[in-house]
Symmetry: C2
Subunit: 104 residues, 2 copies
């Protein structure tokens, strides 16, 4: 994120999945594309091994609330609870400091 | 995290690695074990695909500062920059809200 965009917010979504996750990958791609179109969206990082971690970055708490209530996203959340996730945790965080390293 | 531990802090460490990462896995295990012994440590989640994401959770900003300056951890950070990471980003965040879902 750029220096002048601070303070901003991060949503840390950690999850474990069921064995059968038919349709999950397509939905994850769809939701990522949809999130990128939301007002206040800044970026997203994802990785999964035993646990999945997706961190999305937002300008304001309001942008996070709007994304949580977005209609297609609500349907994806329901589908996630019904079919894909055995557990998940959502943390809404204020990013207070940030630093970055690039290999020369 | 437990409800009564809020507010608490999250350190979001995202990184990309070089192709040659000899010794990285052993160091990562060692640092995780060492972090667990630090005062104020609450937990840690890690996953890596194209990008690596490690989120560690701490009771206070002071605990995070102490961990950053811990002598063995300082050496690991130097080694990380010299040998393993092509890029990394560190975000210090205050966890403001949290909710969790368990499959029934």
């Amino acid at each position: 994120m750029k220096e002048d965009s601070k303070p901003y917010y991060a949503v840390i979504f950690t999850s474990t999945q069921n064995e059968n996750i038919v349709g999950y990958s397509e939905m994850a791609d769809k939701m990522e594309n949809l999130a990128k179109q939301q007002k206040g969206f800044l970026g997203m990082d994802s990785a999964r091994n035993n646990i999945g971690i997706t961190v999305s970055y937002w300008k304001t708490i309001e942008a996070i609330k709007n994304w949580k209530q977005q209609i297609d996203h609500l349907q994806a959340q329901q589908k996630g609870r019904a079919d894909w996730y055995s557990w998940y945790n959502v943390r809404i965080c204020k990013v207070e400091r940030e630093y970055e390293y690039f290999k020369k």
